[in-house]
């Protein structure tokens, strides 16, 4: 059974490279990989810069940052803008960029969650050349697709999948998010060319991934049997919904997600909610405070007190004191007593602060 491609989500790649606006990246000449760099204009398989790959978006998904305040706090230094670091010695390397591609034939599938997986790929120039040669004129008519096969519980031979669906992709995008939509199933993906006559030419095949379940297994264990309603209560308690849950077991996970009692991420929501509000940026604001600097000088060996408390003089006999100044009156007697003769001087600044506000 062939199905139409499901919602495809292609996340913008623009921000994803360390230096998004790079010139064409040079591959590092590695002994272990092909030295060939991809040419950027070969018929259908041109490689464009990451930012320009067309990006169909279906439903933006962004991490709710406010829910992750606690975890972020570990890395919070208070600095929002990026300080500029000097280049260090090791790295003339630091001026270099990673290879954009390694000129390999590879297609890798990774699980994002019980529904979605991420595929990334690279097709070598030699493979494209070979295809062009073998397929002749039909190569130009082919369109690049990802074909996703449901291979749950089988040894996939290439033709025995339970079902498959095709997703048109821009090969230059190099990666794609695929919605398989069925937790607990296993998937394998081909990157290939779909010809106008309906034939599909497989170019690369991925690894197989087994999506996790999004609810409890239906498989039970004879030796460790548990009645359904008891399990439901236990499940409710385990995920923090309490023992008296009404939904059937299979739906409890969704309920938990809805209630946002998921992992530490959510949890942090609670912590940050009062805190976060304190951080709200107002459209306009003003903060004013006052400090008072009291400074002076005397003989370096004199003994000096300010408001009755001894202070330390600098070597040259000068001193500086700094006080947060609240509203009201402050009498600040500065008393210096000579070390050599019996003489004491007192100077007392009197300071009054009065603050008014409008509005």
């Amino acid at each position: 059974m062939k199905r139409k491609a499901k919602t495809i989500q292609k996340i913008k790649r623009a921000a994803s490279k360390p230096k998004p606006k790079g010139k064409p990246k040079k591959a590092l000449p590695l002994k272990t990989v092909s030295r060939k760099t991809e040419t950027r204009k070969k018929g259908h398989f041109s490689l464009r810069l990451p930012g320009r790959a067309s990006a169909p978006t279906a439903g933006k998904h962004e991490i709710p940052l406010q829910e992750m305040k606690v975890e972020q706090a570990k890395f919070y230094t208070g600095v929002m803008e990026q300080p500029v670091y000097q280049k260090s010695v090791v790295a003339e390397l630091e001026h270099k960029e990673l290879a954009w591609r390694y000129g390999e034939d590879i297609l890798v599938l990774q699980i994002r969650d019980p529904w979605w997986a991420h595929a990334y790929w690279d097709v070598s120039t030699s493979t494209v050349d070979r295809l062009r040669k073998e397929m002749g004129s039909s190569f130009g008519g082919g369109r690049w697709h990802l074909r996703s096969y449901d291979v749950s519980f089988i040894n996939f031979t290439g033709s025995n999948a339970h079902r498959f669906f095709d997703t048109a992709v821009d090969p230059d995008a190099g990666n794609w998010y695929l919605n398989f939509g069925s937790p607990g199933t296993s998937w394998c993906v081909d990157l290939g060319l779909l010809l106008p006559d309906g034939r599909f030419i497989t170019v690369l095949r991925s690894n197989t991934v087994a999506l996790p379940l999004d609810g409890p297994s239906w498989v039970t264990d004879e030796e460790w049997m548990i009645p359904d309603d008891e399990f439901r209560r236990l499940y409710g308690m385990s995920v923090g919904l309490g023992p008296n849950v009404s939904s059937p077991v299979g739906k409890l996970w969704q309920e938990r997600l809805k209630k946002d009692i998921s992992s530490r991420g959510i949890a942090s929501m609670g912590v940050s909610s009062p805190v976060r509000k304190g951080q709200e940026k107002l459209p306009f604001w003003l903060v004013v405070d006052c400090e008072l600097i009291v400074y002076g000088a005397t003989e370096p060996d004199a003994r000096v007190t300010v408001q009755g408390r001894p202070i330390k003089l600098r070597k040259d006999g000068t001193f500086t004191l700094r006080f947060a100044l609240p509203d009201g009156r402050q009498d600040i007697p500065v008393v210096a007593k000579s070390a050599k003769i019996d003489e004491t001087r007192t100077i007392t600044p009197v300071v009054t602060r009065k603050t008014t506000r409008q509005p």
Partner: protein
């Protein structure tokens, strides 16, 4: 009568940040702040419990990157410099706030806190790993390991040799620091992929943890939910996180740390005070940063903040600890009846949340431990090892792939801002595996180069970089770290493969990325 167990787990982790090439490096502050605000308060708590003969039980990971930083002499010296500077600032603050008694009381509190931190740090010869080890040796603290550099295993599924290297390097590092093999592991980000338990087994690790759905959605159904561990087919035990106790600490309804009497994290004198005055204590480039001196309480939902009152906050921490204990008692009593066996409640948290984010967290924990020890009979605190020794018979299931990140799977580390890293990480992993295959027994300079290559690869794999890219602050740094380690890896791997090693370059890398001196590149297979 004991009706159940409580297992408190703290995950102590920071990525490896050490920049000898810079006099002062902003991101190193992550470590210094965590030392002052989390690790030292925790150690002080262990000491205080020990002094009072409280026979407590705690489980804590000290990740290999964290342990490596805590034992690094350069970072130890820099911490002393850092805390000295804070002490100097606190002295000035005591003077400056003379006419504001509410604030002066706090300035004095910080002065004491910082001086005590420095004393404790020096008492353990600047090596806090020794402090943690002391309490493991006394039988109170069970220290577990983690991935060598906190690589997120579910996104290394096509690079299993790297998972193996993460675990083996971690176990060797643990043995060096703690004098025995690790019994348990905190999987980085609590990320479990079925089959990874085999690699744990190879390393003699007896147990790990998953988030609650890791067990609940395992196959077959777990008879006891998350309230008993299960065995994987490999025989390694898996403990599941209890959400109710997590919620008690973090939920918006009942969560403790958001209490208005607790200290506000975001108001710091680094931002609040006059620029010229605070200048010597912020970033040398003149950028305002947090200093750690914070004078306000959360106060309420608005921007108006009132001064912090440590006595009131302490009372709150005590009452919150009592509330937590009461709820665990109720939970355990209910479960004991329902299950027909003693449940175990697993409550894991990031260690750095205690003290750093939730200033009163260590106090809360200490109150909790004391209350559980003296004020009730239903709960006993245990370590997973103790539990397994007493309860060896458990169900065998295959836990489900899961993590404790947002939405429970891989999305935090696999989305638009960070998905580009995997192509390179996997490529590097394949190159490394190939190098190991070709060089089963390298010696001399080549061996050094291959060892360094593995260090660079592991450092690039830290899940922290992808996390930071996803969450937004310090993004450039995280991107640079990923990129630099990969470039260094590819360069040194290429040199090693071609038997054309630039010793000067290698030496520089060994000094700069000096983590895991004991590493053996052959573990990557």
């Amino acid at each position: 009568m004991v009706k159940g167990y409580l297992c408190m787990v703290l995950h102590g982790h920071l990525p490896y940040v050490r920049h000898p090439e810079h006099e002062d490096f902003l991101e190193e502050d992550w470590l210094y702040e965590a030392i002052t605000e989390t690790y030292i308060p925790l150690i002080a708590m262990f000491e205080s419990l020990d002094r009072d003969r409280v026979n407590f039980r705690m489980t804590m990971s000290v990740t290999p990157t964290l342990a490596s930083m805590l034992t690094d002499t350069l970072l130890q010296e820099r911490y002393v410099k850092h805390i000295n500077s804070l002490i100097e600032l606190a002295h000035k603050e005591v003077e400056r706030t003379r006419w504001l008694p509410e604030f002066q009381k706090l300035a004095v509190m910080y002065l004491n806190l910082f001086t005590h931190a420095r004393d404790l740090f020096e008492r353990y010869h600047r090596n806090l790993v020794l402090a943690f080890k002391r309490f493991q040796d006394s039988g109170n603290l069970e220290i577990i390991t983690c991935g060598a550099t906190h690589g997120f295993f579910p996104l290394m599924d096509v690079a299993k040799p790297s998972v193996r290297a993460q675990v083996r390097v971690a176990a060797a590092n643990y043995e060096k620091n703690f004098g025995r093999r690790p019994r348990g592991i905190w999987l980085p980000e609590c990320g479990y992929m079925p089959g990874d338990d085999e690699i744990l087994k190879e390393n003699g690790i007896k147990y790990f943890f998953t988030d609650s759905h890791g067990i609940l959605h395992g196959t077959p159904r777990p008879k006891y939910g998350v309230f008993a561990p299960v065995y994987c087919k490999s025989g390694v035990a898996c403990f599941g996180r209890d959400m109710e106790s997590s919620k008690q600490v973090w939920s918006s309804v009942e969560g403790y740390p958001g209490d208005y009497d607790y200290r506000e994290f975001y108001r710091d004198v680094g931002f609040d005070l006059d620029y010229d005055y605070i200048r010597p204590y912020i970033h040398p480039d003149g950028i305002r940063i947090n200093t750690g001196i914070k004078y306000y309480r959360i106060s309420g939902p608005g921007n108006e903040k009132r001064p912090y009152d440590p006595d009131v906050a302490r009372e709150k921490a005590a009452s919150h600890a009592g509330n937590f204990m009461f709820n665990r008692e109720k939970q355990v009593e209910y479960l004991y009846e329902a299950l027909g066996r003693r449940p175990i409640i697993i409550s894991p948290y990031d260690a750095e949340l205690y003290g750093h984010w939730w200033f009163e967290g260590p106090q809360w924990l200490e109150f909790l431990i004391r209350k559980v020890t003296f004020d009730q009979k239903a709960i006993r605190m245990v370590t997973p090892s103790e539990y397994l020794a007493e309860n060896p018979r458990n169900q065998v299931i295959t836990p489900s792939m899961s993590s404790w990140g947002w939405k429970g799977y891989s999305e935090v580390w696999l989305q638009g801002s960070n998905d580009w890293v995997y192509r390179h990480l996997h490529k590097a992993s394949r190159v490394m595996t190939d190098l190991v295959r070709r060089n089963p027994d390298a010696a001399g300079m080549k061996r050094r180069a291959l060892n360094q290559a593995l260090r660079e690869l592991l450092l690039a794999q830290s899940s922290d970089w992808a996390f930071i890219m996803a969450t937004g602050t310090h993004v450039t740094y995280a991107q640079q770290r990923t990129k630099n380690h990969l470039l260094r890896f590819f360069r040194v791997a290429q040199d090693a493969a071609g038997d054309n090693i630039d010793e000067g370059f290698l030496k520089e890398l060994e000094d700069k990325d000096n983590i895991f001196p004991e590493i053996d590149y052959r573990v990557h297979q």
